[in-house]
Protein backbone atom coordinates (compact mmCIF):
# COMPACT_ATOMS: atom_id res chain seq x y z
CA UNK A 1 0.00 0.00 0.00
CA UNK A 2 0.91 3.66 -0.27
CA UNK A 3 1.29 5.39 3.09
CA UNK A 4 0.81 9.15 3.15
CA UNK A 5 1.97 11.15 6.13
CA UNK A 6 -0.63 13.92 6.32
CA UNK A 7 1.02 16.67 8.31
CA UNK A 8 -1.08 18.80 10.61
CA UNK A 9 0.81 21.82 11.89
CA UNK A 10 -0.79 22.91 15.16
CA UNK A 11 -3.50 20.30 14.85
CA UNK A 12 -4.92 21.31 11.49
CA UNK A 13 -4.63 19.58 8.15
CA UNK A 14 -3.85 22.07 5.42
CA UNK A 15 -3.50 22.11 1.66
CA UNK A 16 -0.14 20.29 1.75
CA UNK A 17 -1.80 17.27 3.39
CA UNK A 18 -4.69 17.17 0.91
CA UNK A 19 -2.24 17.44 -1.99
CA UNK A 20 -0.14 14.60 -0.56
CA UNK A 21 -3.16 12.33 -0.11
CA UNK A 22 -4.41 13.12 -3.63
CA UNK A 23 -0.94 12.23 -4.93
CA UNK A 24 -0.82 9.10 -2.76
CA UNK A 25 -4.22 7.95 -4.02
CA UNK A 26 -3.22 8.41 -7.67
CA UNK A 27 0.07 6.61 -7.07
CA UNK A 28 -1.80 3.77 -5.35
CA UNK A 29 -4.15 3.51 -8.37
CA UNK A 30 -1.12 3.22 -10.68
CA UNK A 31 0.26 0.45 -8.48
CA UNK A 32 -3.10 -1.29 -8.05
CA UNK A 33 -3.08 -0.87 -4.29
CA UNK A 34 -4.70 1.28 -1.61
CA UNK A 35 -3.79 4.60 -0.03
CA UNK A 36 -3.62 4.90 3.76
CA UNK A 37 -3.12 8.21 5.54
CA UNK A 38 -1.36 8.69 8.86
CA UNK A 39 -1.85 11.67 11.16
CA UNK A 40 -0.04 12.37 14.42
CA UNK A 41 -1.20 14.10 17.59
CA UNK A 42 -4.65 15.54 18.01
CA UNK A 43 -6.00 16.45 14.58
CA UNK A 44 -9.30 18.25 14.05
CA UNK A 45 -10.42 17.10 10.61
CA UNK A 46 -8.48 13.84 10.01
CA UNK A 47 -11.48 11.95 8.60
CA UNK A 48 -11.61 14.47 5.75
CA UNK A 49 -8.58 12.73 4.25
CA UNK A 50 -11.03 10.11 3.00
CA UNK A 51 -12.45 12.76 0.70
CA UNK A 52 -9.09 12.98 -1.07
CA UNK A 53 -8.71 9.25 -1.54
CA UNK A 54 -7.44 7.67 1.68
CA UNK A 55 -9.18 4.30 2.20
CA UNK A 56 -8.07 4.28 5.86
CA UNK A 57 -6.98 7.09 8.16
CA UNK A 58 -4.74 6.15 11.08
CA UNK A 59 -4.01 8.48 13.95
CA UNK A 60 -1.48 8.20 16.75
CA UNK A 61 -3.03 10.39 19.41
CA UNK A 62 0.11 10.74 21.59
CA UNK A 63 0.33 14.37 22.72
CA UNK A 64 4.13 14.20 22.38
CA UNK A 65 3.54 14.75 18.66
CA UNK A 66 2.05 18.16 19.23
CA UNK A 67 5.59 19.51 19.27
CA UNK A 68 7.57 18.65 16.20
CA UNK A 69 10.66 16.48 16.47
CA UNK A 70 11.92 14.87 13.27
CA UNK A 71 13.32 11.88 15.14
CA UNK A 72 10.04 10.95 16.82
CA UNK A 73 7.96 11.59 13.70
CA UNK A 74 10.24 9.61 11.38
CA UNK A 75 10.29 6.70 13.84
CA UNK A 76 6.48 6.66 14.06
CA UNK A 77 6.00 6.80 10.29
CA UNK A 78 8.56 4.02 9.81
CA UNK A 79 6.81 1.82 12.37
CA UNK A 80 3.42 2.27 10.72
CA UNK A 81 4.93 1.75 7.25
CA UNK A 82 6.51 -1.53 8.34
CA UNK A 83 3.46 -2.78 10.24
CA UNK A 84 1.29 -2.21 7.17
CA UNK A 85 3.74 -3.25 4.48
CA UNK A 86 3.92 0.13 2.75
CA UNK A 87 5.89 0.11 -0.50
CA UNK A 88 5.68 3.87 -1.08
CA UNK A 89 5.67 6.57 1.59
CA UNK A 90 4.55 10.05 0.54
CA UNK A 91 5.36 13.23 2.49
CA UNK A 92 4.89 16.92 1.74
CA UNK A 93 8.04 18.82 0.76
CA UNK A 94 7.56 21.36 3.55
CA UNK A 95 9.64 22.35 6.56
CA UNK A 96 8.20 19.24 8.23
CA UNK A 97 8.73 16.89 5.30
CA UNK A 98 12.27 18.11 4.66
CA UNK A 99 13.17 17.34 8.27
CA UNK A 100 11.94 13.76 8.13
CA UNK A 101 12.35 12.50 4.54
CA UNK A 102 16.07 11.75 4.86
CA UNK A 103 15.61 10.12 8.26
CA UNK A 104 12.81 7.94 6.95
CA UNK A 105 14.80 6.79 3.94
CA UNK A 106 17.63 5.64 6.22
CA UNK A 107 15.23 3.88 8.61
CA UNK A 108 13.36 2.10 5.82
CA UNK A 109 16.42 1.45 3.69
CA UNK A 110 14.47 3.25 0.99
CA UNK A 111 15.45 5.26 -2.04
CA UNK A 112 14.35 8.88 -1.60
CA UNK A 113 13.42 11.57 -4.10
CA UNK A 114 12.46 14.86 -2.50
CA UNK A 115 10.43 17.60 -4.12
CA UNK A 116 8.77 15.47 -6.81
CA UNK A 117 6.40 17.47 -8.98
CA UNK A 118 4.49 14.89 -11.03
CA UNK A 119 3.01 11.44 -10.70
CA UNK A 120 5.41 8.50 -10.87
CA UNK A 121 5.70 6.18 -13.84
CA UNK A 122 5.73 2.52 -12.92
CA UNK A 123 8.47 0.46 -14.54
CA UNK A 124 8.36 -3.11 -13.23
CA UNK A 125 9.37 -2.88 -9.57
CA UNK A 126 10.95 0.52 -10.11
CA UNK A 127 9.35 3.96 -10.00
CA UNK A 128 10.39 6.89 -12.17
CA UNK A 129 9.72 10.36 -10.76
CA UNK A 130 10.63 13.89 -11.78
CA UNK A 131 11.75 16.91 -9.84
CA UNK A 132 13.08 20.35 -10.59
CA UNK A 133 16.86 20.69 -10.09
CA UNK A 134 19.57 23.35 -10.46
CA UNK A 135 17.20 25.90 -8.90
CA UNK A 136 14.61 25.49 -11.62
CA UNK A 137 17.08 25.45 -14.51
CA UNK A 138 16.56 21.74 -15.27
CA UNK A 139 14.34 18.74 -14.62
CA UNK A 140 15.76 15.42 -13.42
CA UNK A 141 14.11 12.05 -13.75
CA UNK A 142 15.01 9.57 -11.02
CA UNK A 143 14.68 5.83 -10.95
CA UNK A 144 14.07 4.24 -7.55
CA UNK A 145 14.78 0.54 -7.24
CA UNK A 146 14.41 -0.21 -3.53
CA UNK A 147 11.50 -2.28 -2.21
CA UNK A 148 10.27 0.74 -0.22
CA UNK A 149 10.35 4.20 -1.78
CA UNK A 150 10.04 7.59 -0.12
CA UNK A 151 8.75 10.61 -2.06
CA UNK A 152 8.19 14.16 -0.85
CA UNK A 153 5.75 16.18 -2.91
CA UNK A 154 6.41 19.78 -3.92
CA UNK A 155 3.67 22.23 -2.92
CA UNK A 156 1.19 23.31 -5.62
CA UNK A 157 2.35 20.45 -7.90
CA UNK A 158 -0.98 18.59 -7.79
CA UNK A 159 -4.43 19.93 -7.03
CA UNK A 160 -6.30 18.33 -4.14
CA UNK A 161 -9.10 16.29 -5.70
CA UNK A 162 -12.20 15.39 -3.75
CA UNK A 163 -13.11 11.92 -4.94
CA UNK A 164 -14.48 10.16 -1.88
CA UNK A 165 -16.16 10.80 1.44
CA UNK A 166 -15.01 11.48 4.97
CA UNK A 167 -14.24 8.29 6.88
CA UNK A 168 -13.75 7.37 10.51
CA UNK A 169 -10.31 7.52 12.02
CA UNK A 170 -8.60 4.43 13.45
CA UNK A 171 -6.26 4.61 16.43
CA UNK A 172 -2.72 3.44 15.97
CA UNK A 173 0.31 3.54 18.21
CA UNK A 174 4.07 3.88 17.96
CA UNK A 175 6.48 5.18 20.53
CA UNK A 176 7.41 8.87 20.39
CA UNK A 177 10.92 9.52 21.59
CA UNK A 178 12.01 13.04 20.77
CA UNK A 179 14.77 15.11 22.28
CA UNK A 180 13.79 18.56 21.05
CA UNK A 181 11.95 20.90 23.39
CA UNK A 182 9.77 23.32 21.43
CA UNK A 183 9.40 26.54 23.41
CA UNK A 184 7.32 28.69 21.17
CA UNK A 185 5.79 28.81 17.70
CA UNK A 186 5.46 32.30 16.22
CA UNK A 187 3.31 32.59 13.11
CA UNK A 188 1.68 35.48 11.34
CA UNK A 189 -2.03 34.88 11.56
CA UNK A 190 -4.34 35.56 8.68
CA UNK A 191 -1.69 35.32 5.96
CA UNK A 192 -1.36 32.37 3.60
CA UNK A 193 2.33 31.41 3.89
CA UNK A 194 4.25 32.00 0.66
CA UNK A 195 4.95 28.33 -0.16
CA UNK A 196 1.19 27.64 -0.05
CA UNK A 197 -0.02 30.79 -1.80
CA UNK A 198 -1.76 30.41 -5.16
CA UNK A 199 -1.32 34.05 -6.08
CA UNK A 200 1.77 36.06 -5.12
CA UNK A 201 2.24 39.79 -5.63
CA UNK A 202 5.93 40.60 -5.41
CA UNK A 203 7.80 43.90 -5.61
CA UNK A 204 11.41 45.00 -5.93
CA UNK A 205 13.68 47.98 -5.76
CA UNK A 206 11.65 49.72 -8.43
CA UNK A 207 9.27 50.67 -5.59
CA UNK A 208 11.88 53.26 -4.53
CA UNK A 209 10.74 53.51 -0.90
CA UNK A 210 9.04 51.25 1.67
CA UNK A 211 6.38 53.92 2.12
CA UNK A 212 5.16 53.17 -1.40
CA UNK A 213 4.08 49.57 -0.65
CA UNK A 214 0.42 50.50 -0.18
CA UNK A 215 -0.37 49.93 -3.88
CA UNK A 216 1.22 46.47 -3.70
CA UNK A 217 -0.71 45.55 -0.57
CA UNK A 218 -3.96 46.83 -2.07
CA UNK A 219 -3.46 44.68 -5.14
CA UNK A 220 -2.67 41.66 -2.95
CA UNK A 221 -5.82 42.26 -0.90
CA UNK A 222 -7.98 42.37 -4.02
CA UNK A 223 -6.51 39.08 -5.24
CA UNK A 224 -6.33 37.38 -1.80
CA UNK A 225 -2.66 37.07 -2.63
CA UNK A 226 0.42 36.82 -0.42
CA UNK A 227 3.07 39.54 -0.79
CA UNK A 228 6.72 38.81 -1.56
CA UNK A 229 9.82 40.84 -2.39
CA UNK A 230 13.27 40.68 -3.96
CA UNK A 231 16.40 40.22 -1.90
CA UNK A 232 17.71 43.81 -1.80
CA UNK A 233 14.29 44.91 -0.56
CA UNK A 234 14.49 42.46 2.36
CA UNK A 235 18.18 43.19 2.96
CA UNK A 236 17.51 46.90 3.34
CA UNK A 237 14.63 46.11 5.71
CA UNK A 238 12.02 47.67 3.47
CA UNK A 239 10.06 44.46 3.89
CA UNK A 240 10.28 41.56 6.39
CA UNK A 241 12.71 38.73 5.63
CA UNK A 242 10.01 36.12 5.36
CA UNK A 243 8.84 37.84 2.14
CA UNK A 244 12.20 37.31 0.41
CA UNK A 245 11.88 34.95 -2.56
CA UNK A 246 14.62 33.62 -4.83
CA UNK A 247 17.71 31.53 -4.65
CA UNK A 248 18.59 32.58 -1.10
CA UNK A 249 15.02 33.19 0.00
CA UNK A 250 11.97 31.01 -0.40
CA UNK A 251 11.32 29.05 -3.59
CA UNK A 252 7.68 29.20 -4.61
CA UNK A 253 5.45 27.89 -7.38
CA UNK A 254 2.16 29.76 -7.28
CA UNK A 255 -0.38 29.72 -10.09
CA UNK A 256 0.15 33.43 -10.63
CA UNK A 257 3.24 35.51 -9.82
CA UNK A 258 3.00 39.24 -10.39
CA UNK A 259 6.44 40.90 -10.36
CA UNK A 260 6.44 44.66 -9.89
CA UNK A 261 9.63 46.69 -10.33
CA UNK A 262 11.86 43.60 -10.17
CA UNK A 263 14.61 43.27 -12.77
CA UNK A 264 14.53 39.47 -12.93
CA UNK A 265 18.12 38.61 -12.00
CA UNK A 266 18.93 34.92 -12.38
CA UNK A 267 19.04 34.44 -8.58
CA UNK A 268 15.58 35.92 -8.25
CA UNK A 269 14.22 33.75 -11.07
CA UNK A 270 15.67 30.67 -9.38
CA UNK A 271 13.00 30.95 -6.70
CA UNK A 272 10.01 31.85 -8.88
CA UNK A 273 10.54 30.33 -12.32
CA UNK A 274 8.32 27.36 -11.52
CA UNK A 275 5.31 29.65 -11.18
CA UNK A 276 2.56 28.64 -13.60
CA UNK A 277 1.96 32.14 -14.97
CA UNK A 278 4.25 35.15 -14.56
CA UNK A 279 3.18 38.77 -15.08
CA UNK A 280 5.95 41.39 -15.16
CA UNK A 281 5.45 45.11 -14.72
CA UNK A 282 8.63 47.07 -15.40
CA UNK A 283 9.44 50.40 -17.02
CA UNK A 284 12.56 48.98 -18.69
CA UNK A 285 11.62 46.97 -21.81
CA UNK A 286 15.07 45.34 -21.62
CA UNK A 287 14.54 44.02 -18.08
CA UNK A 288 15.59 40.33 -18.09
CA UNK A 289 12.36 39.35 -16.33
CA UNK A 290 10.37 39.81 -19.57
CA UNK A 291 12.19 36.77 -21.01
CA UNK A 292 10.75 34.61 -18.24
CA UNK A 293 7.29 36.22 -18.30
CA UNK A 294 4.00 35.13 -19.83
CA UNK A 295 2.46 38.61 -19.77
CA UNK A 296 4.32 41.89 -19.60
CA UNK A 297 3.43 45.52 -19.13
CA UNK A 298 6.11 48.07 -19.95
CA UNK A 299 5.52 51.23 -17.99
CA UNK A 300 5.66 53.09 -14.69
CA UNK A 301 4.47 50.87 -11.87
CA UNK A 302 3.11 53.81 -9.88
CA UNK A 303 0.70 54.47 -12.72
CA UNK A 304 -0.02 50.86 -13.72
CA UNK A 305 -0.48 49.02 -10.43
CA UNK A 306 -3.42 51.13 -9.14
CA UNK A 307 -5.18 50.81 -12.51
CA UNK A 308 -4.54 47.07 -12.61
CA UNK A 309 -6.04 46.85 -9.13
CA UNK A 310 -9.11 48.75 -10.32
CA UNK A 311 -9.51 46.35 -13.24
CA UNK A 312 -9.24 43.31 -10.96
CA UNK A 313 -11.82 44.85 -8.62
CA UNK A 314 -14.19 45.40 -11.50
CA UNK A 315 -13.65 41.78 -12.60
CA UNK A 316 -14.21 40.42 -9.08
CA UNK A 317 -17.40 42.44 -8.73
CA UNK A 318 -18.74 40.84 -11.91
CA UNK A 319 -17.83 37.24 -10.92
Amino acid sequence: MVLVFAESPRGILKKAAFEAVTYGKKTADLLGTSCVALTLGSVKNAGELGVYGASRVLNIADTAFEHFDSQAVAAAIATIAQQNGATVVVLSHTSTGKSIAGRLSVRLNAGLVSGVNSLPAVNGAALHVKKSVFSGKAIAEYQIDSAVKVLSLMGNAVKPEATGAAISVENASAGAKGRIRVKEVKTQEGIVPLPEAEIVVSAGRGMKDPANWGIVEDLATTLHATTACSRPVADSHWRPHHEHVGQTGIAIRPNLYIAIGISGAIQHLAGVNNSKVIVVINKDPEAPFFKAADYGVVGDLFDIVPRLNASFKKFKAGH
Binding site: A101, I139, A140, E141, P193, Y295
Partner: protein, 246 residues
Protein backbone atom coordinates in the same frame (compact mmCIF):
# COMPACT_ATOMS: atom_id res chain seq x y z
CA UNK B 1 33.46 22.53 21.26
CA UNK B 2 34.08 20.17 18.35
CA UNK B 3 32.23 21.33 15.25
CA UNK B 4 31.86 19.75 11.82
CA UNK B 5 30.67 21.72 8.79
CA UNK B 6 29.74 19.70 5.71
CA UNK B 7 30.29 21.69 2.55
CA UNK B 8 29.15 20.92 -0.94
CA UNK B 9 30.53 22.25 -4.20
CA UNK B 10 27.90 23.50 -6.66
CA UNK B 11 27.79 25.34 -9.98
CA UNK B 12 27.86 29.12 -9.56
CA UNK B 13 24.40 30.72 -9.17
CA UNK B 14 24.67 32.31 -12.63
CA UNK B 15 25.96 29.14 -14.37
CA UNK B 16 24.25 28.08 -17.55
CA UNK B 17 23.07 24.54 -17.02
CA UNK B 18 23.46 21.96 -19.80
CA UNK B 19 23.84 18.21 -20.11
CA UNK B 20 25.85 15.78 -22.20
CA UNK B 21 25.62 12.09 -23.20
CA UNK B 22 21.95 12.47 -24.23
CA UNK B 23 20.98 14.18 -21.00
CA UNK B 24 22.52 11.51 -18.79
CA UNK B 25 25.23 13.72 -17.30
CA UNK B 26 25.74 17.32 -16.17
CA UNK B 27 28.09 19.15 -18.56
CA UNK B 28 30.74 20.81 -16.39
CA UNK B 29 32.60 22.34 -19.33
CA UNK B 30 33.05 26.06 -18.77
CA UNK B 31 31.09 25.99 -15.50
CA UNK B 32 32.48 27.88 -12.54
CA UNK B 33 32.09 26.02 -9.23
CA UNK B 34 31.57 27.57 -5.81
CA UNK B 35 30.97 26.50 -2.26
CA UNK B 36 27.21 25.99 -1.83
CA UNK B 37 26.11 29.45 -0.57
CA UNK B 38 24.16 28.27 2.52
CA UNK B 39 27.03 26.05 3.62
CA UNK B 40 29.44 28.96 3.29
CA UNK B 41 27.49 32.01 4.42
CA UNK B 42 25.49 30.55 7.27
CA UNK B 43 26.76 27.13 8.45
CA UNK B 44 30.50 27.71 8.22
CA UNK B 45 30.43 31.28 9.50
CA UNK B 46 28.23 30.43 12.50
CA UNK B 47 30.49 27.49 13.38
CA UNK B 48 33.54 29.80 13.25
CA UNK B 49 31.77 32.37 15.44
CA UNK B 50 30.95 29.72 18.06
CA UNK B 51 34.56 28.53 18.06
CA UNK B 52 35.76 32.10 18.43
CA UNK B 53 33.67 32.64 21.57
CA UNK B 54 33.72 29.15 23.09
CA UNK B 55 37.00 27.64 21.87
CA UNK B 56 37.36 24.27 20.20
CA UNK B 57 37.73 23.46 16.55
CA UNK B 58 35.88 23.67 13.25
CA UNK B 59 36.43 20.89 10.71
CA UNK B 60 35.22 21.37 7.13
CA UNK B 61 34.24 18.17 5.32
CA UNK B 62 33.61 17.63 1.63
CA UNK B 63 32.78 14.45 -0.20
CA UNK B 64 34.37 14.96 -3.60
CA UNK B 65 37.31 14.51 -5.95
CA UNK B 66 40.70 16.22 -5.58
CA UNK B 67 39.50 19.02 -7.86
CA UNK B 68 37.28 20.22 -4.98
CA UNK B 69 40.30 21.23 -2.94
CA UNK B 70 40.08 24.85 -4.10
CA UNK B 71 36.63 25.04 -2.49
CA UNK B 72 37.89 23.28 0.64
CA UNK B 73 40.80 25.73 0.94
CA UNK B 74 38.29 28.56 0.78
CA UNK B 75 36.52 27.08 3.82
CA UNK B 76 39.88 27.03 5.60
CA UNK B 77 40.50 30.62 4.54
CA UNK B 78 37.14 31.67 5.98
CA UNK B 79 38.09 30.10 9.30
CA UNK B 80 37.87 26.30 9.53
CA UNK B 81 40.84 24.85 11.44
CA UNK B 82 41.24 21.72 9.41
CA UNK B 83 39.50 19.83 6.63
CA UNK B 84 38.62 16.35 5.51
CA UNK B 85 37.95 15.27 1.95
CA UNK B 86 36.30 11.92 1.45
CA UNK B 87 37.69 10.92 -1.89
CA UNK B 88 34.67 9.96 -3.99
CA UNK B 89 32.38 11.33 -6.65
CA UNK B 90 29.39 12.70 -4.69
CA UNK B 91 26.92 10.60 -6.70
CA UNK B 92 23.77 11.20 -4.69
CA UNK B 93 22.45 12.54 -1.41
CA UNK B 94 22.23 9.02 0.01
CA UNK B 95 25.81 8.26 -0.94
CA UNK B 96 27.16 11.51 0.52
CA UNK B 97 25.19 11.10 3.75
CA UNK B 98 26.55 7.58 4.25
CA UNK B 99 30.14 8.81 3.81
CA UNK B 100 29.69 11.68 6.25
CA UNK B 101 27.99 9.50 8.85
CA UNK B 102 30.68 6.82 8.69
CA UNK B 103 33.38 9.44 9.16
CA UNK B 104 31.60 11.38 11.94
CA UNK B 105 30.53 8.29 13.90
CA UNK B 106 33.83 7.91 15.72
CA UNK B 107 34.68 11.61 16.05
CA UNK B 108 32.31 12.84 18.76
CA UNK B 109 31.35 16.12 17.16
CA UNK B 110 29.13 18.36 19.27
CA UNK B 111 27.34 19.93 16.32
CA UNK B 112 27.26 18.83 12.68
CA UNK B 113 26.33 21.70 10.37
CA UNK B 114 24.79 21.65 6.90
CA UNK B 115 23.40 24.34 4.61
CA UNK B 116 19.60 24.24 4.25
CA UNK B 117 19.90 22.70 0.77
CA UNK B 118 22.28 22.66 -2.17
CA UNK B 119 21.52 24.91 -5.10
CA UNK B 120 22.08 22.08 -7.61
CA UNK B 121 19.97 19.13 -6.46
CA UNK B 122 17.85 21.16 -4.03
CA UNK B 123 17.12 18.06 -1.98
CA UNK B 124 17.57 19.12 1.64
CA UNK B 125 18.16 15.42 2.32
CA UNK B 126 21.70 14.85 3.56
CA UNK B 127 21.47 16.43 7.03
CA UNK B 128 18.40 14.42 8.00
CA UNK B 129 20.02 11.21 6.76
CA UNK B 130 23.21 11.82 8.75
CA UNK B 131 21.16 12.60 11.87
CA UNK B 132 19.33 9.30 11.50
CA UNK B 133 22.51 7.27 10.96
CA UNK B 134 24.00 8.83 14.09
CA UNK B 135 20.76 8.77 16.11
CA UNK B 136 20.93 12.52 16.77
CA UNK B 137 18.27 15.24 16.86
CA UNK B 138 18.02 17.28 13.64
CA UNK B 139 16.92 20.87 13.29
CA UNK B 140 16.40 21.97 9.69
CA UNK B 141 16.30 25.51 8.25
CA UNK B 142 17.65 27.07 11.45
CA UNK B 143 17.90 30.84 11.21
CA UNK B 144 19.37 31.30 14.70
CA UNK B 145 21.61 29.18 16.92
CA UNK B 146 22.91 30.13 20.37
CA UNK B 147 24.66 27.94 22.89
CA UNK B 148 24.48 28.01 26.65
CA UNK B 149 26.62 25.26 28.14
CA UNK B 150 25.39 21.99 26.69
CA UNK B 151 22.04 23.39 25.58
CA UNK B 152 21.37 25.17 22.33
CA UNK B 153 18.47 27.50 21.56
CA UNK B 154 17.49 27.57 17.91
CA UNK B 155 14.94 29.21 15.69
CA UNK B 156 13.70 27.14 12.80
CA UNK B 157 11.92 28.57 9.75
CA UNK B 158 8.49 27.03 9.27
CA UNK B 159 5.72 27.96 6.84
CA UNK B 160 4.64 31.46 7.75
CA UNK B 161 6.71 31.78 10.92
CA UNK B 162 9.42 30.43 13.19
CA UNK B 163 9.63 27.80 15.88
CA UNK B 164 11.82 28.42 18.93
CA UNK B 165 13.30 25.28 20.45
CA UNK B 166 15.94 23.90 22.77
CA UNK B 167 18.11 20.84 22.33
CA UNK B 168 21.13 19.38 24.07
CA UNK B 169 24.42 18.58 22.37
CA UNK B 170 25.15 16.72 20.21
CA UNK B 171 22.83 17.48 17.28
CA UNK B 172 22.68 18.04 13.53
CA UNK B 173 21.51 21.36 12.10
CA UNK B 174 20.89 22.85 8.65
CA UNK B 175 21.47 26.58 8.36
CA UNK B 176 19.27 29.17 6.65
CA UNK B 177 19.45 32.92 6.15
CA UNK B 178 19.73 34.79 9.43
CA UNK B 179 22.08 32.39 11.21
CA UNK B 180 25.17 34.43 10.26
CA UNK B 181 26.44 37.00 7.81
CA UNK B 182 28.66 36.12 4.86
CA UNK B 183 32.42 36.56 5.51
CA UNK B 184 34.90 37.43 2.79
CA UNK B 185 38.20 35.65 3.49
CA UNK B 186 41.02 38.12 4.22
CA UNK B 187 44.63 37.90 3.05
CA UNK B 188 45.83 36.34 6.30
CA UNK B 189 43.09 33.72 6.10
CA UNK B 190 44.03 32.85 2.54
CA UNK B 191 47.72 32.56 3.46
CA UNK B 192 47.18 30.35 6.53
CA UNK B 193 44.66 28.18 4.65
CA UNK B 194 47.51 26.85 2.52
CA UNK B 195 49.20 25.19 5.47
CA UNK B 196 46.16 24.01 7.44
CA UNK B 197 45.71 20.23 7.52
CA UNK B 198 43.55 18.71 4.78
CA UNK B 199 43.17 14.98 5.24
CA UNK B 200 42.01 12.59 2.55
CA UNK B 201 39.78 9.74 3.68
CA UNK B 202 38.76 6.69 1.62
CA UNK B 203 35.02 6.25 0.98
CA UNK B 204 32.90 3.31 2.10
CA UNK B 205 30.87 1.31 -0.39
CA UNK B 206 27.25 2.38 -0.79
CA UNK B 207 24.67 1.83 -3.52
CA UNK B 208 21.89 4.43 -3.60
CA UNK B 209 18.52 3.01 -4.67
CA UNK B 210 17.49 6.38 -6.14
CA UNK B 211 19.45 7.51 -9.17
CA UNK B 212 19.05 10.44 -11.55
CA UNK B 213 18.75 8.74 -14.93
CA UNK B 214 17.75 11.58 -17.24
CA UNK B 215 18.05 15.37 -17.29
CA UNK B 216 16.04 17.73 -19.46
CA UNK B 217 15.75 21.48 -19.76
CA UNK B 218 12.39 23.03 -18.89
CA UNK B 219 10.20 23.76 -21.92
CA UNK B 220 10.96 27.23 -23.24
CA UNK B 221 8.38 29.91 -22.44
CA UNK B 222 6.20 30.75 -25.43
CA UNK B 223 7.44 34.32 -25.20
CA UNK B 224 6.03 37.27 -23.36
CA UNK B 225 2.72 38.75 -24.47
CA UNK B 226 3.02 42.50 -24.06
CA UNK B 227 -0.14 44.26 -22.92
CA UNK B 228 -1.01 47.88 -23.70
CA UNK B 229 -0.31 49.74 -20.43
CA UNK B 230 -3.48 51.77 -20.99
CA UNK B 231 -5.63 48.62 -21.09
CA UNK B 232 -5.39 46.73 -17.79
CA UNK B 233 -8.87 45.27 -18.35
CA UNK B 234 -7.28 43.29 -21.19
CA UNK B 235 -4.62 41.83 -18.88
CA UNK B 236 -7.32 40.79 -16.41
CA UNK B 237 -9.35 39.23 -19.23
CA UNK B 238 -6.33 37.22 -20.44
CA UNK B 239 -5.50 36.01 -16.93
CA UNK B 240 -9.08 34.82 -16.59
CA UNK B 241 -9.87 33.46 -20.04
CA UNK B 242 -6.51 32.41 -21.44
CA UNK B 243 -4.25 31.64 -18.48
CA UNK B 244 -7.21 30.65 -16.25
CA UNK B 245 -5.43 31.64 -13.06
CA UNK B 246 -8.07 34.01 -11.68
Amino acid sequence: MKLLVCISQTPDTTAKVSFKSDGKEFDAAGVQFIMNPYDEWYALVRACELRETLGGSVTALNVGPAANETTIRKALAIGADDAVRINADPQSAGFVAKQIAEYARSQNFDIIFFGKETIDYNGSEVGAMVAEYLDMPYISYASKLDLNGNTATLERDIEGGVEVLEVDLPFVVSAAKGMAEQRIPNMRGIMTARTKPLVEVAPVAFEDAAKAVQFTLPPAKAGVKLIDPENMDELVRLLHEEAKVI
